[in-house]
Symmetry: C2
């Protein structure tokens, strides 16, 4: 469990042990356990976030915890996997005291209950530098049923869940943009940035429906580019089809030039997938079942790369299809 003796045991006992499930063995052993069953495949993903890079040092600790967990759950959902457990390592500066950790653990506890997962183990060490939080999430899928990035085929339609661009606009607001926005729009967009909604219900239900899938983290076009690259195909997205929230729509109405930028915006943690045209009825039914918009935004074509076009099919040039953090 540890390369450092002092303070660590108390941190683990007070804040992390209450989060452990049966496989975590109370966090008193060297490791946690996962039982296997024939025909199942475990799906493992990891993300690290850094204070001052991926979140602001004075962001609410419970929201930092929930975002860290949720971005990993989003990766599992993008493979069609159901989440089971997670492993957490924290490297924390001395300035972050028990109060910060208590609120951080509260955020984990809340989302553990929501997503039906538990803590298996980890490590908690000190650093003289910025806090670094690393989370490994473990899910499961029936063997061979996992949805990869590489399965898109010519003629497939491209779909995305939820709405696009909210997180980028939320970050803009935190940086001082649109100061006159109505408070409810502001709250909604900032929350979408701080606490994404991983599509853990939709992802596993897209097994047998989606041929290739990814979650929108780096940016819609950049992430679609990953599907294109691994599937050896091109994709075209119609800018007019991008699903926007009411709050985002009100901002775009005032500044239509923002719209193409939202196609490059990341951090939405929506599911972006390619499916054959024949799957449309199934997708529509899933959308109704989960009360979650799932919108057709484009198609897979011959060629390479993902591109954005206007309603007349004319290409829309983008400054950059990636997305940068502060």
């Amino acid at each position: 469990m540890s390369m450092e003796a002092l303070g660590e045991f108390e941190r683990i006992r007070r804040f992390f042990a209450p989060l452990a499930g049966p496989g975590g063995l109370g966090l008193v052993d060297d490791a946690g356990l996962i039982d296997c069953a024939a025909g199942r495949r475990l799906v493992i993903t990891a993300d690290a976030i850094v204070a001052g890079v991926h979140y602001l040092p004075d962001d609410p600790p419970d929201l930092v915890a929930r975002k860290l967990l949720r971005v990993n759950l989003s990766d599992l959902a993008a493979m069609g996997a159901r989440p089971l457990h997670y492993v957490l390592t924290t490297a924390l500066p001395a300035g972050l005291g028990p109060e910060w950790l208590a609120r951080f653990a509260d955020g984990l506890a809340e989302d553990q209950a929501r997503f039906g997962i538990d803590l298996l183990g980890g490590d908690s060490v000190g650093t003289h530098g910025s806090a670094v939080l690393s989370l490994t999430a473990i899910g499961e899928v029936a063997a061979g049923q996992e949805i990869r990035r590489s399965g898109a085929e010519l003629g497939d339609l491209v779909w995305v869940s939820g709405t696009i661009g909210d997180a980028a606009l939320g970050l803009d607001l935190l940086r001082g943009s649109h100061p006159d926005l109505p408070p409810q729009d502001r709250d909604y967009l900032v929350r979408r940035f701080r606490v994404p909604d991983p599509r853990t219900e939709l992802g596993p239900r897209l097994i047998g429906v989606a041929r290739a899938m990814i979650d929108v983290s780096d940016g819609l076009l950049a992430d679609l580019g990953h599907i294109c690259e691994t599937s050896q195909a091109a994709a075209v997205i119609e800018v007019g089809q991008l699903p926007l929230s009411s709050a985002a729509r009100r901002i775009v109405e005032r500044d239509p030039n923002l719209l193409p930028r939202l196609a490059a915006a990341g951090d939405d943690y929506e599911l972006l997938f390619a499916a054959p045209a024949g799957a449309t009825a199934a997708i529509t039914a899933l959308s109704s079942l989960l009360d979650l918009p799932v919108t057709r935004i484009g198609r897979i074509e011959e060629g390479t790369g993902a591109r954005l076009v206007d309603d007349g099919g004319r290409p829309i040039p983008l400054q950059a299809t990636g997305y940068r953090h502060f």
Copy 2:
């Protein structure tokens, strides 16, 4: 895979993708895969290390990588698990360029081959602070056969593999102690600190033999204290029985007061276990088979806590039974 777009893809493609096994899917998907089989249990452990806390920023990067991997393999061995895969997240300052990463990856590649494991996935992000390296290791054990800390029983004998105190003396040497030590002793002890030998062959073979096990990371007495606490028993260690390397013995001969300190020294990553007296022949046979010393150093008694006694059974007081890093 990521919350940060730039530089990350290139880092992963160049340095980490070549380390991925089949389950890592070339590190192009959101997650890696592990197949399950009935009756097997996966064992998961994680450790994080921080530049300036657990290693020095100018330590050789390949040795940093190998130590990070090996301390996790040691945790798996302490559960009796066979290592399979690992997941790695790195948070690196901009000053650590491709050369550092190339050497870091070389160290991983070397030890992957040695221990028969591969990379499943991870994340690689930037930080404005100290480098933080977090590794989650995954092993397997037959379900129910894992060796926990809590199984020690009254009358059990306490054993430890290899030699004790080498790593602490190696760290002393790096800090300038014993400048007149012969170079071969110096090299041996420094290497024991920098590149521990996780007992991956011994650990799984102790299933059915050891009743409780831990690896020596925080310090022999502190780690034995964890066995005592979870097993609700006491342990007594005879200082004269501590197995020392020739290099350590030469130092202790000059400074006998060091000996009790070595009983508190950590970072040796040897296996420390309790076994019934009837298992002695099996342990001796394993020691011969693996050409690895396994030494009886004490016994489990009624009471609480781990204590050190001299050859006459008199208690030896210790300043601290823990072990601190620089």
